[in-house]
Amino acid sequence: MFVVFSLIAILFFAFAQYWALAIAPPEKWMGDVYRILFVHVPAAWNALLMLSVSFVASILYLIKRKPFYDRLAASSSEVGVVLTGLTLMLGSIWGKPTWGVWWTWDPRLTTTAILFLLYMGYQILRRLIDDAEQRAKISAALGTMIFLNVPIVYFSVKWWRTLHQLQSSPQTVAPEMVLPLRLNAFAILGLALIFLWMRMRIARLESQKEEQ
């Protein structure tokens, strides 16, 4: 099951990337540089998706106290952190030729960077608490608070300084670019799900080992 799904997801990813790199037309002002968009934006979407999953799982753990939710929160936040890191790196690479700087204190960039730091802290915390139950409880509480902070961080940084272009909606992006963008969004979602699945299995095996 898992192997079949992984194969399909990887093949689909290759297909979507091919479309993005070879079939989609270059952009008017940014030329080929803009193609980084096809990884950057889907990675950002999926990172946020994974972190939301982690948030919901944290709350469910606090209510239901099922170890499953703790494992889900841990796994999805890890995948989310990796994707967030990817988004940051690609965004920075894209920023240099288009904005002229590697980094700018733009709200979405800054929010993403802070999010990365927050969830790195969360990962460190998880590894410092030995007792499984304590760890689950405390990290669920902090995980909830971290996610609540996301909109507040976003608005604070946005008011502080703004430069990033407005949210691109399909209306402002040409249709021949929207399609590969969507394809890639699903392709990266597929990859994220593979990671999540594997990470969940590791977490389950770990807790089984702990119980022995």
Partner: protein
């Protein structure tokens, strides 16, 4: 509930008065930091005034971490928190009491830090600055108390506290610095209201969230 809250806050204040050396050292640390900042920036008074708000809030952050760490470390030692819980104190009430007393003491510390700020950075004093400070300190102690409650029970927790707390406090830092800056340079386009409301939202959200989470953070058996 309320009587417990009052008793606990009284307890905190008695502790602080008995061991006021700690509070004094925190104030001294903050003054020292401000002095070092103003040294390292050189004699350019314009530059100093421009960066006063940012440096001041950084100083507040540093001193408050020390202070929160100390305050909760003491409670963690020798099972003191557990002792209170076994007497029937609700962890939520405990959290509120600790946040409140940390908040009041933080205000006190900041009050002493305002003098070197005004003297060293040539910044005019204004009452609105005090409002910003009060709102900011409440946010710091609301989140800081919750986080310190977790980190002080861990090995190497005193490094972990700023690592976890500072990123969470970024909205507060931005709002605090901007609002203070506007108090110093003048509020040409009346932007201050926004930063006030951001501070208020931050304070309410995290006080309430940490209040709800308090049993998980302070009571090992819940």
């Amino acid at each position: 509930m309320l009587s417990d809250l009052i008793t606990l806050i009284q307890k905190d204040f008695r502790l602080i008065i008995r061991s006021s050396v700690h509070l004094f050292s925190v104030v001294l640390f903050g003054v020292l930091l401000l002095l070092l900042f103003s040294f390292s920036m050189g004699g350019d008074i314009d530059l100093l005034r421009k960066s006063a708000a940012g440096l001041f809030w950084i100083t507040v952050f540093f001193s408050s971490t020390f202070f929160l760490d100390q305050s909760l470390q003491y409670e963690q030692k020798d099972g003191r928190i557990e002792g209170l819980l076994l007497l029937g104190v609700d962890p939520k009430i405990y959290y509120v009491s600790k946040t409140f007393s940390n908040f009041l003491l933080l205000i006190l510390v900041e009050f002493f830090l305002l003098f070197p700020l005004i003297v060293l950075f040539d910044v005019p004093f204004s009452w609105s600055m005090l409002t910003v400070l009060i709102m900011g300190s409440f946010g710091i102690s609301a989140l800081g108390t919750a986080y310190a409650g977790v980190t002080t029970s861990l090995v190497s927790g005193n490094v972990l506290l700023p690592l976890l707390l500072y990123p969470m406090l970024i909205p507060l830092l931005l709002a605090g610095v901007q609002a203070t800056q506007l108090c110093i340079t003048g509020d040409l386009f009346n932007e201050r209201f926004m930063w006030y409301s951001l501070l208020a939202i931050f304070d309410v959200v995290f006080f309430v969230a940490a209040f709800l989470c308090a049993p998980f953070l302070f009571d090992k058996s819940s």
